[in-house]
């Protein structure tokens, strides 16, 4: 389906152009910059309505396609298109970006205009990643995200921000350059950079193996998987609240999305062969990183480790599908695993974003992220405490919240492959509950710990909008996941068919 007006381009370029507009504004016009930024973000969110409404979720084909020659000599196209999976992630991006800007309204005073600009540019680039149908275009968006995030962490971050931003940048940059070589190699074989052509290309087992590892390095760093996760706690801790939120809610999903679009369909045989490796690393992430989260003293670090642990479920869901399809030919269970991974990505986007926002709310008041500096917050901030507990429950995977749905689906799929796998994965329900509930106990409940906590004021209207917004999303997906699942169903079934067919 060719679209009549370039909806996807608008979604990408509106925030980017808006961001550059903010950069040209004078420093002292901060409030004008804030309003402009918010309006641009809201307009982008509004553009998602025709996107969602116009999408034919029953079809796995790419829709709203735009295809313009970019570089004729190399067959590189400005080629955009979305399916259900992309739309789900675009909705997540647009929604989270609005709430991030609202959340930063009063808490970022220093250079507010550039701060808003950086987030808008980042939003456009992230949407671009989810729309790109051309490998070069994808890479440009994928890498382009690094610079704004680098700036966000480096300028508005905490005391160790320089170290964290450089580590973040170099880690992810190193990962992705191998993917670039892989993509160029694919081009040299296929004569095209279109993702669809690369998926259709036949590749030998050795070629697939090298490509699989090139992609694995790029996306494993991004998502991040154990043992290349170490940049994440540093980046999360030092980033400003908005940076942590975007990082956790969306940038990590880019890694998962990359697996879905590149590793799984392009190198299915190598992925099947090496699925055990990814599954093993995922289980290590789920269990070991969960224990690491248990001992953290810094709230942001705790949530960061919890993110890694939860993203372990995403990679587990993605690669358990191979074990199911290839060995037991159980494509329903494979679809369940992939669905679960996708739902987990979206749900973790909301939950981690909400938890980081909660920490931001407390940090704005007390200027500490240490668990030991809090205690008895419920006494002074009852509304906040209620929302915090809700998000904590969701993080622990309580039924009725979105956190439960994805994890449950992945565990179900894993069980069909091997009960032992499922048993190990299900440990997260215990460990996750342990670290989250213990966090809640120490921070929220108990006696008022010190004067700082005694002086706390409950959340204001702006913060309420942010947290209630996330709470609504968490509950909606938790109670009624059907629209989300149906949105992605056709695309997931297509993916299952792709990974079931050998490309040798």
């Amino acid at each position: 389906m060719e679209s009549h007006w370039p909806l996807l381009s608008l979604l990408i370029w509106l925030p980017i152009v808006g961001g550059f507009l903010l950069l040209t504004m004078r420093q002292h016009r901060a409030s004008l910059a804030r309003w402009t930024g918010l309006i641009v973000a809201l307009a982008t969110l509004a553009l998602c309505v025709p996107l969602y409404a116009g999408l034919d979720a029953a079809s796995a084909d790419m829709q709203f396609v735009e295809r313009v020659v970019w570089v004729a000599g190399f067959d590189i196209y400005y080629h955009l298109g979305v399916d259900g999976i992309s739309v789900a992630l675009i909705l997540l991006t647009a929604f989270t970006s609005v709430l991030v800007l609202v959340g930063a309204w009063g808490s970022v005073q220093d250079r507010a205009g550039p701060y808003f600009a950086a987030f808008l540019i980042l939003e456009g680039l992230m949407i671009g990643v989810f729309c790109a149908m051309d490998a070069v275009l994808f890479y440009v968006f994928f890498e382009g995200m690094l610079i704004p995030m680098f700036i966000i962490i480096g300028i508005w971050g905490g005391p160790q921000r320089v170290y964290a931003s450089l580590k973040f940048f170099l880690y992810t940059f190193l990962g992705s350059v191998f993917m670039l070589i892989g993509l160029i190699y694919l081009y040299s074989q296929a004569g095209s950079f279109a993702l669809a052509d690369l998926v259709a290309l036949k590749l030998s087992a050795t070629e697939q193996m090298w490509l699989f590892f090139a992609f694995l390095v790029a996306f494993a760093v991004k998502i991040p998987m154990f043992p290349v996760h170490t940049w994440l706690p540093d980046a999360h801790v030092e980033a400003p609240t908005g940076g942590s939120v975007i990082l956790a809610a969306i940038m990590l999903k880019v890694g998962g999305y990359g697996f879905l679009r590149f590793s799984l369909p392009m190198t299915p045989d190598a992925s099947a062969e090496w699925a055990w490796l990814v599954i093993a690393l995922s289980l290590v992430a789920v269990v070991y990183i969960g224990f690491v989260a248990l001992v953290q003293q810094d709230m942001k670090k705790l949530i960061a480790y919890s993110s890694i642990s939860h993203m372990g479920f995403v990679t587990l869901g993605l690669f358990i599908a191979f074990a199911l399809v290839r060995t037991t030919d159980n494509s329903d269970a494979a679809a369940l695993g992939l669905q679960g991974a996708m739902v987990q990505m979206v749900s973790h986007g909301f939950i981690s974003a909400a938890l980081f926002s909660c920490v931001g709310v407390m940090y704005d008041r007390v200027h500490s992220r240490m668990i030991g500096d809090y205690g008895g917050v419920v006494n002074t901030m009852p509304w906040f405490a209620a929302l915090f507990v809700l998000f904590a429950m969701a993080n622990a995977g309580l039924p009725g919240t979105s956190g439960f749905v994805g994890e449950f689906m992945v565990i179900l799929a894993a069980f069909q492959s091997s009960p032992w796998l499922a048993a190990v994965a299900a440990l997260t329900l215990i460990i996750g509950a342990a670290y989250t509930l213990w966090l809640v106990k120490r921070v929220i409940f108990g006696e008022v710990a010190n004067d700082n906590v005694a002086k706390l004021k409950d959340i204001d209207a702006r913060e309420t909008i942010v947290l209630v917004g996330f709470a609504g999303a968490v509950l909606l997906v938790g109670v009624w996941p059907a629209p989300l699942v149906e949105l992605m169903d056709a695309s997931v079934m297509k993916l299952v068919a792709q990974i079931a067919t050998t490309k040798l």
């Binding site: 590189i76 890498e143 690094l146 170099l170 350059v177 160029i184």
Partner: protein
């Protein structure tokens, strides 16, 4: 033998430029110091008219023309390189005017020497025989030796000029020695004839291989590729920034032209030999350039090592040995010349009389003092580092693609790994500008003249505009090589 004057037509830009250099030299004698702007204007006009003359006869698909029995060639490659040289040299003039006049260095000689160097480079990229190559190379080299020593009161400048001269002479000697062996092996100075002769000789000719080694050393020296890079940091640091700006940008275009003429135009028959030599030089340059740059505190020195690493990337393209690889390398060198000119332009912008702004620390907190120029510097640095969506990424992308398609995957992987290491020192500049607060004693940024500011902003914003322009540039380069 010249049979008719029309045979000289391919040389028209060179003849015109030579005539105008003489006019400029004479006219400048009668210009008082306070009206030196006239010389500046005249030099820009000369460039514009030379460009017009070149472009008038420019047609990418036209068959190559030659003069003097093939000693001078004019084809798409030479014309594209020449036009790029005019453009970058014009930028150099615009950037350096105020810098030089503040320091009392703005003299007619600067313009004359730059233009004679340009003439040398034009001859070099159009060379059809070994003699022409040497002629162009020496004209370029002698002009640049004098330019480096332009600030004769500075010991650093004099030292740099001396080093440059001695090492340059050594390299010229090597090149000549190599050429003499090539002549001995093939019996001709004409590149096309040599090409024909080498095709038959294959790997058996020891003499030719020896000659080739020396020729490659000469080329590597001119580029500043490791391990023949020793002169680069000292010359970059010692020269006045305006001269560094010139040396760091325009001659790279000529060096590419020379490498292509000599290696592909002359010795395609022993392609495998020079390709593996270039691949080794590429890895060495990438390693030394990127790793040593990490340790620099002087920005000009850092950019010198950055140049070495970029030359490494360029050699990756050349080492592919295919038309695709040459097109990629040519696009790379043109884009690199623009980036480098912008980066040195930023140093000039920040400097003023008595303050050279060449330490990396001088950029501390620039985003608070000069948000706009900090953003421009950010674009330039990110582009040099090769982050998408800036032009530097696409330049690297082309080269990597050529290397992978030529089967040099190991070289491509080495290139990207070193590019990641190199990313750190560019990021460090961004970090200083954006993450650090300015020191209290930091000298203020004084306003520069308007053309300079506009040109600088334009060339920095070009790094973004490249999203649209790199396609046409690439297809132009590709067509020039087919």
């Amino acid at each position: 033998m010249i049979h008719s004057w029309s045979e000289l037509l391919p040389l028209l830009p060179e003849v015109f430029l030579l005539g105008m250099i003489c006019v400029l030299l004479l006219a400048d004698l009668y210009v008082p110091q306070e009206h030196r702007g006239f010389t500046h204007f005249l030099a820009l006009m000369i460039l514009a008219f030379t460009a017009i003359i070149t472009l008038r006869a420019f047609s990418i698909d036209a068959p190559p023309q030659s003069a003097f029995d093939g000693m001078f060639l004019r084809d798409g490659v030479s014309d594209i390189l020449k036009v790029a040289m005019y453009g970058v040299l014009a930028l150099v003039f615009v950037y350096s005017r105020e810098y030089l006049s503040e320091r009392g260095l703005l003299s007619g000689e600067f313009y004359v020497l730059c233009l004679t160097a340009l003439l040398g480079m034009m001859v070099l990229v159009s060379a059809g025989s070994l003699i022409t190559v040497y002629l162009g190379l020496e004209l370029l080299a002698l002009s640049t030796y004098a330019l480096v020593a332009l600030n004769r009161d500075s010991t650093l400048s004099s030292e740099a000029a001396m080093k440059y001269f001695v090492l340059g002479a050594l390299a010229s000697g090597m090149l000549l020695y190599g050429m003499s062996m090539v002549y001995g092996a093939t019996g001709s100075l004409d590149l096309a004839t040599i090409r024909g002769a080498t095709a038959g000789l294959g790997d058996s000719a020891i003499l030719l291989s020896f000659g080739l080694v020396f020729v490659v050393i000469g080329v590597a020296f001119k580029f500043g590729a490791a391990p023949f890079h020793m002169w680069v940091p000292d010359v970059y640091q010692g020269s006045p920034t305006a001269i560094t700006l010139f040396i760091g940008s325009v001659p790279k275009l000529a060096a590419f032209g020379m490498a292509w003429r000599l290696l592909d135009g002359g010795m395609a028959g022993v392609g495998e030999q020079w390709q593996s030599m270039l691949a080794l030089l590429a890895v060495a340059s990438l390693a030394i350039g990127n790793v040593v740059a990490l340790a620099q505190t002087n920005l000009k020195r850092m950019l010198a090592y950055s140049t070495i690493s970029h030359v490494g990337f360029l050699f990756v393209g050349l080492a592919s040995g295919s038309a695709e690889g040459f097109a990629a390398a040519m696009a790379y060198v043109i884009l690199y010349a623009l980036m480098a000119a912008g980066a040195f332009g930023m140093i000039i912008l920040l400097s003023h009389k008595g303050f050279e702004a060449e330490e990396i620390e001088d950029f501390k907190g620039l985003s608070r003092r000069q948000p706009w120029y900090a953003l421009m510097m950010l674009l330039l640095m990110a582009s040099l580092a090769g982050f998408p969506p800036l032009v530097g990424f696409f330049a690297k992308f082309l080269v990597l693609k050529a290397a992978v398609e030529a089967g040099l995957i190991w070289l491509a992987i080495a290139a990207v790994v070193f590019a990641v290491i190199g990313a750190y020192y560019y990021l460090r500049i961004i970090k200083l500008m954006y993450f650090d607060n300015p020191a209290d004693d930091q000298p203020p940024v004084l306003p520069s003249d308007a053309p300079m500011r506009w040109a600088l902003s334009a060339s920095a914003l070009f790094q973004l505009a490249a999203l649209v322009v790199w396609g046409p540039l690439l297809s132009l380069c590709q067509r020039a090589f087919t």
